[in-house]
Symmetry: C2
Subunit: 200 residues, 2 copies
C-alpha cells in the first residue's frame, strides 16, 4: 500500500511536512510517494482567487505564528516570505515529470527551503536552477524537460488524481483512499497505514 | 497564568476537545478556564452566513470523516447530527452566566454529547433542561437566569473578548495571549504554558 504525500510548493504547512516526512516515515518503515500538485485550481473551484490565508486575515495571522512555532520546535529554519503565495508551477512540473527519481525528495526540500527559509522566488528559473545544481544535477536538461507539452499535461493529470482523491488542501496524506489533511496528521496517517496493513 | 479554553457548542472539533481537556490538563497540573462563545458573528465578519464546512463541501466531507476517526481513537461516542450546525445560543448563555461554577465542565460535556453523540437539538430548551437535571441542578432557575438581559449582555462581552484575543475558530486555547487553534493543538498549548511559566 503506497503512502502518498501531496504537496504544493506554495503551501506553508507543506514546508515542515516535506522537511520531516522522510525521517518520520522511515521510523515506520514506510516509503513515501511524493506527489506535487497545484492548490490554485482547487481554491478556484471554491471561489477563491487567492490563498485563504490572505483572504481571511485572522486565519493568516494565526498561520504565520503557528508555522513559526512549528518550525522552531522542529529546529527548521524559517523566514516569513515577503511574497505569499509564490507560484510553484515550475518546481511542480519538475517534481511531476521526474516523479520517482531518487533526487526528488532532496529537490523538493531544497525548493521549500528556498521559499520559506531563504525567501527566494521559486517561480524564478534561476532559483530552481540553483536548487538542481547544488544536487549535482543537469538543471538545463531537467528544466527544459519540465517545460515540455508532455510535462504540462502530466501535472494536469496529477491535479485530476488529487481531485479524485478529494484532496482539497496541502499537505495531504492518502493511504488506500483514506485522506489525512495537515502537517499535524502525518503521524496519524502513518499509524493508519500500519494498522490497516496488519488487518488486511 | 490562566489556561483558556474557547468553545462553541455547535463546533464539531470542540466536542473531542471538551471531552478530553480536563483529564489532559490535569496531567499537566493545569486548571482550565471554560469560555463559551459564538462562532456565528466571527463567521459573519468573514462573509460567511453558514459553517465553512457546509459552504465548502470537500472540507465538510473530510471533517466528518476526520471527526469520526478522532472520536474512535479517543473512545468517545459519535453520531453525525442530522442538523448542522445547531444553535448553541442557550447553552452558551448558561455557560457564560454561570462561568466558574463547579458544574460547568459536566454541563458542557452533557450538551456536547447531546449534540454529537445523541443527535439531539441543543437549541431546544427541553434538551438543555435534561442536561441540567441529570446533573441534579435546578434547570428552571438556571435557564431563566440565562435568559435575562444581563446574561445576554455577558455573552456579547465574551464574544468581544474572543475577538480581542484574535480567536477566529473553535476550539481555541489561549495562554498569555498566545493563541492555539484546534483540538489537535491542546497538548502543544499546555506545553507552551509549562515552558513559559518556568521561564517567566
Amino acid at each position: 500500500m503506497a503512502f502518498q504525500f501531496w504537496f504544493d510548493f506554495a503551501s506553508t504547512y507543506s514546508y515542515p511536512a516535506a522537511m520531516r516526512i522522510e525521517s518520520v516515515a522511515r521510523s515506520h518503515r514506510v516509503d513515501v510517494e511524493w506527489n506535487a500538485f497545484l492548490l490554485g485550481p482547487v481554491f478556484k473551484a471554491q471561489g477563491w482567487s487567492d490563498s485563504p490565508f490572505n483572504i481571511y486575515p485572522a486565519k493568516g495571522k494565526y498561520m504565520w505564528r503557528d508555522l513559526e512555532r512549528i518550525c522552531n520546535s522542529l529546529s527548521i529554519p524559517f523566514r516569513r516570505p515577503k511574497v505569499f503565495p509564490r507560484s510553484g508551477l515550475l518546481p511542480a512540473r519538475i517534481a511531476t515529470r521526474f516523479k520517482g527519481s531518487t533526487w526528488i525528495p532532496d529537490f523538493v526540500r531544497a525548493v521549500y527551503r528556498a521559499n520559506f527559509a531563504d525567501d527566494l522566488d521559486i517561480s524564478d528559473s534561476a532559483v530552481v536552477t540553483h536548487c538542481l545544481v547544488e544536487l549535482g544535477l543537469d538543471a538545463g536538461e531537467i528544466i527544459s524537460g519540465a517545460r515540455s507539452v508532455e510535462s504540462k499535461s502530466m501535472l494536469r493529470s496529477q491535479n485530476s488524481v488529487a481531485a479524485q482523491l478529494n484532496v482539497f488542501g496541502a499537505p495531504s496524506f492518502v493511504v488506500n483512499n483514506e485522506l489525512f489533511w495537515g502537517n499535524d496528521r502525518l503521524e496519524q496517517a502513518l499509524q493508519w497505514l500500519e494498522t490497516h496493513q496488519k488487518t488486511e
